[in-house]
Symmetry: C2
Subunit: 176 residues, 2 copies
DNA sequence: TCCGCTATCTATAAACA
DNA sequence: TTGTTTATAGATAGCGG
């Protein structure tokens, strides 16, 4: 039996594409699992298949989630030092929201908290390249905030004065 | 030449483990790439290797980032409806921070913004199982906020009254 | 460390039940 | 559709340079 070499192109036939997806997906998960075991690393795969119409997350598969299922993304990360400033990256409306939040802060502690939270929105890393399939479901901006040292409140639950230092773990993700 | 079957266990020898990592990683990326092409899906891999001491993101590799490189995670997602409430999942200190933020909001618009931002922190989805390797660099909580419809401010940059509706895309990630 | 090499093992395309 | 088989393409462990 002679089997011709696989042509690396989108499989137009629905059933064979799905079959291929299942087979290769299984193989991929196995490979990731083995890589984890052999090399002592953690791996995580995220894939979106229009056919399955749900987002798959490995190692922990999730159920069909209506919002996330429409979420299709290409992740691209780069160091923050490559970004000139917040305005050069975030959309004008994002800046507006941030400015608005600043304006709303009158109280010192509010100011501290909010400024720390949102001024540093571009704190260390910027991840861009998010691509939403259904802009009606998930448009706008994604902000990922890594709150570093969130225990740093005093016994009354008030923020301590050196919060800036403790919140330097921030991370922001923006998308257009 | 007889080659014995690979034992599926952590490779203790440093150089051979690294070699294996490189080879298998390459193969994995190729497989993901082919799966993308053949089945018309988007894939994204995140892996952390202690040896490389940097987080790798495919398809867009990132440079050695000091914070994220120490970040090692296992992702587990589940639908929010499986979570009883915020308190059952988020740590006490998270709740404290959220409460604190609420307390700090006196102004109505502040209240609106902040409540919408943080009250709904467990809005739709909860992702847990994050595992930080270096707790000194990245401990605490991760909150991912999907700001849905962030254009919804009036011409003066003030939040409109029905902000709750427009911010329902929130997503929170918490970890202990 | 980073190539090549290649014997061997694994994944999987195609066909059929 | 799902499962099984089988030939082949492809991946890779171990080694040498």
């Amino acid at each position: 039996m002679i089997r011709k070499k696989v042509k690396l192109a989108y499989i137009t036939n629905d059933s064979s594409r799905k079959a291929t997806y299942k087979k290769r997906n299984k193989g991929l998960m196995k490979n990731m699992s083995e890589l984890s075991t052999l090399c002592g690393i953690n791996t995580c795969a995220i894939m979106y298949s229009p056919d399955e119409s749900q987002l798959e997350v490995w190692p922990s598969p999730i159920g069909g989630q209506q919002v996330l299922s429409k979420f299709r993304m290409i992740l691209e990360m780069e160091q923050r030092k490559n970004m000139v400033n917040q305005e050069s990256f975030l959309s004008q409306r994002t800046v507006k929201v941030v400015e608005q939040l600043k304006k709303h802060c009158k109280d010192n502690q509010e100011k501290e908290m909010t400024l720390v939270m949102f001024n540093n929105i571009c704190g260390k890393w910027v991840i861009h390249g998010f691509n939403f399939r259904d802009i009606n479901d998930l448009n706008g901006i994604i902000i990922i905030v890594l709150i570093h040292g969130c225990t740093s409140t005093d016994d009354d639950g008030n923020a301590q004065s050196n919060a800036e230092d403790r919140y330097k773990g921030y991370c922001a993700i923006g998308c257009e």
